[in-house]
């Protein structure tokens, strides 16, 4: 038994692995995953398709048993509890609203199963429907609702029993872009108002960055990095994260010298960059630096020079694909002038300024 109650941690996933199949067809859907999700947190699992996000969610909900590892809900081990004994509710990707029940019956279902008083069920169902602005649809059947409306009902149904944790598996993926953007804000507000811990799954990085308190970036069944949106975007620890979140240039550089954990690295044209040393790279070794395209400034005074190979018009910005003198290519994103014109054109030779603070050394 663990006598220390650390109620700040809502869900603690400890060294979880989940394997499907066996022999040659063994799939390691999750491979040694550990995360602590805090109370009242909007936590997002972000990763490409097939990286194990849904599997992790299903393990937390109880639909699947782990191969190894433990899951705790407020310091109570829940691995051996069936889904109906866990104070966790799920918003399913395709909503799974009961088609034979009205909206109100759907929303009240959890409370009915918990044997609550009928008047309380009624009150709480209507209250939750009001919260998602769907109270006027209480007597409709799910088939009579649009996708966005069904999504709200699914949300209300999962919120009505006031679970300790709410799991959301790509709940916005079936909605169109405008609705998706509006729902992001609403979901975030809903999380703040209810104070329920949200674990949100998405493969959309913009969704993750705009809504989350913290994000876990996953790939191939492993957690790559956990951190706030800004951490993840500004300080990706490895190539996968830097590449998956936003756009990144990856440049090979040689470490010239190290002082106070600050490495002086040389790029093409002996352009030097000073950045924090990450990992255990010795002096003289070649490392990878990640640089966001929008952080590089085109500046004719710079010693780092290259030729514009291609320009890609993006509306507010233009992407320049530039070939450096050591023949590596780099993408620079530059804001267009007030008239909307690109400032440079194909074939032009330009200088590039890379601020020290914009560079991130990768551990791998």
């Amino acid at each position: 038994m663990n006598p220390v109650i650390n109620s700040n941690i809502a869900v603690s996933v400890r060294n979880i692995s989940k394997h499907f199949g066996g022999g040659k067809e063994l799939v390691k859907a999750l491979d040694g995953v550990s995360i602590d999700i805090s109370d009242n947190e909007f936590f997002t699992l972000l990763g490409p398709s097939g990286c194990g996000k849904t599997t992790l969610l299903r393990l937390i909900a109880g639909f699947e048993l782990s191969t190894v590892g433990e899951i705790f809900l407020y310091d109570e081990e829940i691995e051996n509890l069936p889904p109906h004994k866990r104070s966790i509710n799920t918003v399913f990707q395709h909503y799974a609203l009961f088609p034979h029940m009205t909206v109100e019956e759907n929303v009240g279902f959890g409370l009915r199963m918990l044997n609550r008083d009928p008047t309380e069920i009624k009150r709480r169902s209507m209250e939750t429907l009001e919260l998602v602005k769907m109270d006027q649809f209480a007597n409709r059947k799910p088939v009579q609702l649009s996708g966005g409306q069904q999504q709200r009902i699914a949300l209300a149904r999962a919120l009505a029993p006031e679970p300790k944790v709410l799991l959301l598996d790509e709940p916005l993926s079936a909605l169109d872009l405008k609705l998706r953007q509006a729902m992001r804000m609403e979901l975030k507000n809903l999380q703040r108002e209810t104070g329920i811990t949200f674990i949100f799954v998405t493969h959309d990085q913009e969704e993750a960055l705009t809504m989350s308190d913290r994000i876990a970036v996953m790939s191939a069944g492993k957690i790559q990095q956990v951190g706030g949106p800004m951490d993840i975007y500004e300080r990706p620890i490895n190539r996968f994260v830097a590449d998956f979140i936003g756009d990144s240039n990856f440049l090979q550089a040689k470490i010239e010298s190290v002082l106070d954990n600050q490495a002086n690295c040389l790029l093409s044209d002996n352009f030097s960059i000073c950045t924090s040393l990450v990992g255990t790279h010795p002096t003289g070794s070649t490392v990878t630096l990640a640089i966001r395209p929008e952080k590089i400034k085109l500046n004719d005074e710079s010693t780092l020079r290259g030729d514009i190979q291609e320009t890609v018009y993006l509306g507010t910005d233009t992407n320049y694909i530039i070939k450096l003198n050591d023949s590596t290519t780099i993408t620079v994103r530059d804001q267009n002038g007030v008239t909307g014109d690109a400032r440079y054109s194909k074939g032009q030779s330009v200088g590039l300024h890379i601020p020290d603070s914009s560079v991130r050394m990768l551990a791998d």
């Binding site: 799974a96 199963m113 088939v143 999962a158």
Partner: protein
């Protein structure tokens, strides 16, 4: 611009004629049967005028009444058993743990559909003889339950297979235990399939002849057996009446079955 003619199968000459002929061939005997059930004449083949006398006679005939009652008892009990067993089998196959030979089991349940009925009939009779089971209403009910199972099973299984198990997961996620999940979600959702299966089983049972003939004993005459016995003494309007009643019953059942399965498609 020359318009290109697209040939459809319906455009072939003579198709309409053949269709009419086909339907006439199919339904004329039944129409004749129904019309002659209202015949006043004692001899079934000669039309003497409209009358409901034979209906009155048929319905007040004690033998017909008891045969009809037997048929109804057998059909109702066999339908209930066959439907319950099929429902459980379909649930086990669709929602239980996966096991080796699952496809084989499914095939075995449906196999009796294609086995010649006479073979089943003889086999059932031999079986009862070997275990020394007394032939009568009970033996008929057992035999009917057995051959109704595949008919009840098919629509139930089809319904269950088309049902996303996310609903059941959602229920258990919302604090429903296994029984509540079944009671409030699985059963209502699979109900159209269960109703369809039961109706099919009922129709199959109520007009079965060959197997019933083999396994019936004294005092367990069902309606089809009774009709057969009557026909051997010549076709009377009374036979037409009973047949008409059974025909109408079947049509009602098939119609309801059709509506139920249509509704199932819409909600599924």
């Amino acid at each position: 611009m020359a318009k290109k003619k697209i040939y459809k199968i319906g455009d072939y000459p003579g198709l309409t004629g053949w269709t009419v002929f086909f339907f006439a061939y199919l339904y004329m005997p039944m129409i004749v049967l129904v019309v002659y059930s209202f015949n006043e004449s004692r001899r079934a083949q000669i039309w003497k005028g409209f009358s409901l006398d034979w209906y009155v006679k048929a319905f007040s005939n004690d033998d017909i009444q008891s045969a009809a009652l037997n048929s109804l008892i057998v059909a109702v009990i066999a339908t209930v058993f066959a439907t319950v067993i099929s429902t459980l089998a379909a649930l086990a196959l669709a929602r239980g743990r996966q096991f080796r030979g699952q496809a084989a089991v499914t095939g075995l349940i449906s196999l009796p559909l294609v086995v010649p009925e006479i073979a089943t009939a003889v086999a059932t009779l031999s079986f009862f003889a070997v275990i020394g089971f007394k032939l009568g209403l009970v033996s008929i009910i057992i035999a009917h339950t057995v051959f109704c199972i595949p008919f009840a099973f098919l629509p139930i299984r089809a319904r269950l297979q088309g049902m996303d198990d996310a609903y059941e997961q959602a229920a258990s996620d919302l604090y429903a235990n296994d029984w509540q999940t079944f009671r409030y979600v699985t059963l209502p959702l699979m109900m159209p399939g269960v109703v369809a299966g039961a109706m099919l089983a009922f129709i199959i049972s109520i007009d079965d002849f060959i197997i019933t003939l083999m396994v019936s004993g004294a005092g367990s005459t069902t309606l089809p057996l009774y009709i057969y016995g009557m026909i051997r003494q010549g076709i009377t309007p009374e036979v037409n009446v009973i047949s008409t009643v059974m025909l109408v019953l079947s049509i009602i059942f098939i119609t309801v079955y059709w509506f139920v399965s249509k509704k199932a498609e819409e909600t599924g």
